[in-house]
Amino acid sequence: MNSNILKSIFGVVVLVALVAACDQRSRFDWTEAEREVLKSLWLESLPELPPDPSNAVADNPDAAAFGRQLFFDPRLSANGGISCATCHQAERRFTDGLQKAQAIGITARHTPSIVGAAYSPWQFWDGRRDSQWAQALAPLEDPNEHAFDRVQVVDLVLDDDGYRQNYEALFGALRDSILNDAIFLNTAFANIGKSIAAFERTIMPTTSRFDEFVAAVLGDDVDRQRELFSDDDVRGLRLFIGDANCTQCHNGPLFTNHEFHNTGIISFPGDVPDTARAAGIKEVLTNDFNCRRAYSDDPARRCDELEFARTGKDLIGAFKTPSLRNLENTAPFMHKGQLPTIAAVLQHYNEAPDAMIGHNEAKPLRLSRRELARIEAFLLTLAASISQGQFDNM
């Protein structure tokens, strides 16, 4: 009798130990489908940067060097104190740590990162520009950002000998009379944007701990996996690609589908809710610097993105999915920085409240606090150093 009880207890103990061992092993054991998903998120899977036929100097190193100078030049502003880098700070992954950006005034939205932005067919939170060069022009003339205008911008390039040389080597002679002719002026203004874009195209994400982990998974190196990822990191990753549905939007090596979704973020104090893409698509379709207009360098003017762009009420309150690489040092989050921490963002998706305008596409996740903490741990494995230290202020 007594020995029977002992046997049973022993049996249970062995069973528990076995289950625990299996669990331990399975955590680093990936199915073929999971390996595929991990590979799709791997930085090594990032395709070559697609060409930008609307920008003839997009991949010209001289244009990138000129654009880099412009990017850091505070003279391109009404008070001589605001450059692109004022808000896009390299050490903060090209964001600024504020809810809404602060330049000459306070802007309408939160500064988005520009790391890997060249891969996106749409720029800005609401996609109101369809190229990086057209995007670069808008803040220069925004009264709350640089508060400059195109005449002042082109004038500055004309007056600065170095800039003028750079410009003329790339785009041909600049005449002083250019300022009086709208088409010449706009062309020169667009060329300046194209140079800034050539620089921005070089700002790319770098290898993170997650990418090394995926290499270990694909190389079947369990020891290396254990070295790189804690228990929470792996469980968080499993949730990320599984029950938390994150990869429905945050997919691909940049962890974004570059598309627009309403996820029911609360309005910013004092502001009406932001209609976002519903207004953004209208603006890009009529913008003078869009892919179809005369300032595009593509003689074919093939503009599939504009051609097949969706409009309508589905897009009310829909914002572009941001990348999840390099979240470190980039708080607060969301289009007006409404959510202060990654934990707050995850809590928001866990509840998925009704949207104030339009409708929230996300459904409540109903994950435990512990599970959310694990997803956060995983997200931080996407931290990485900025590339080659080439973005130091000049």
Binding site: T247, Q248, C249, N251, G252, N257, H258, E259, F260, H261, G264, I266, S267, P269, G270, D271, V272, P273, T275, A278, A279, K282, D304, E305, E307, F308, A309, R310, T311, K313, D314, I316, P353, D354, M356, I357, G358, H359, E361, A362, K363
Partner: protein, 322 residues
């Protein structure tokens, strides 16, 4: 038996009261339909809701607001005409003395509306959604006035909704009356009087009509067979690509010269495709080139292909798991 039933209703009533949202009461120009508040500007209607994001986050209110705080008024048009109209929005202190029974005539009778106005948003055409943000400084009775100007006739349509800021939430009496009516109906039904009044035929007829409505088929036109192939390789997410649609009659003959409309989306997420794809070329033999396809999420997608020929329109649904 009777005691039992009363107990059941008491329980049900208590349960419903407990589960009621704070915004169950609506009056004036705003009415509640299917869990949504609707404002009627003459015959033009819009979904209407108010938020106090600073104090109550995503909680929706129909009219009465719990505290004096920043308040966001949202009107989502149901009638497209509203999106072309100049709409203005005014909030006044209730100087009519009519409280929640104030109507347009009472507002029109106010001599100096400007001095009663606490907030005015000048006329603007808002194509998507009409939004107002106002921070109430004090509690009290207010009246909201929405005016919309007809783009052609110039006629002004208006809606008036009285509301209270600092609402205590003690207003469930209409619900209570509704419950009493239900109990009475239940009694009439159980006692057979309902049948006696309207006759068995009427009840049967009503059931039959409902059944017809439920089973009526959605497509009477001839069925079409729609298949697709993708010359750029199998559909993958986040890449714009084109399809070749093959449209055939149910006897397998390719249909040429059809007009084809393509819509699609993810039923689980209530959203459509990220692009607006369209047929750009009739390739002959029932083949059509469909350009501008892109999927932006993994998961289950449905593509609805509407094929219009001289016979009529048929639709086919293509399901995809990405």
């Amino acid at each position: 038996m009777i005691v039992h039933r009363i107990n059941f209703y008491c329980l049900l009533f208590c349960f419903l009261i407990a589960s009621l949202p704070q915004n169950a009461v609506a009056h004036g120009g705003v009415v509640e339909e299917d869990d949504l508040c609707v404002i009627k500007v003459n015959y033009l209607s819009a979904h209407f809701k108010i938020y106090q994001p600073g104090v109550a986050e995503h909680t929706q209110y129909c009219e009465d607001l719990p505290v004096a705080a920043e308040s966001v008024f949202v009107m989502e048009y149901q009638h497209q005409l509203l999106s072309k109209m100049l709409v203005d929005f005014r909030i006044i202190r209730d100087v009519t003395g009519k409280g929640r029974f104030a109507r347009i005539a009472d507002v029109n009778a106010i001599d100096d509306i400007d001095s009663a106005t606490v907030y005015y948003q000048p006329p603007a055409i808002e194509p998507d959604v009409y939004l107002v943000n106002y921070e109430f400084e004090e509690e009290g009775d207010f009246i909201g006035i929405v005016s919309a100007t007809h783009p052609v006739t110039g006629r002004i349509y208006a809606a008036v909704f009285p509301f209270e800021v600092g609402f205590t939430g003690l207003g469930y009496w209409p619900f209570f009356i509704g419950m009493l009516v239900l109990i009475q109906l239940q009694f009439l039904f159980m006692s057979g009087r309902l049948k006696a009044w309207f006759g068995r035929g009427a009840v049967t007829g009503l059931s039959f009509a409902l059944l017809l409505l439920l089973v009526s088929p959605t497509s009477f036109a001839e069925e079409v067979l729609v298949t697709y192939s993708s010359p750029d390789g199998l559909p993958v997410i986040n890449r714009m690509h084109s399809w070749i649609l093959h449209i055939a009659s149910d006897s397998g003959v390719g249909l040429e010269g059809a007009i084809i409309d393509v819509e699609g989306g993810m039923p689980a997420h209530d959203h459509g495709l990220p692009t607006k794809p369209r047929v750009t070329e009739d390739l002959g033999g029932g083949d059509y080139k469909l350009e501008g396809m892109r999927f932006h999420m993994s998961g289950y997608w449905e593509i609805v292909v509407a094929v219009t020929t001289e016979e009529g329109t048929s639709t086919a649904i293509i399901s995809l798991q990405l």
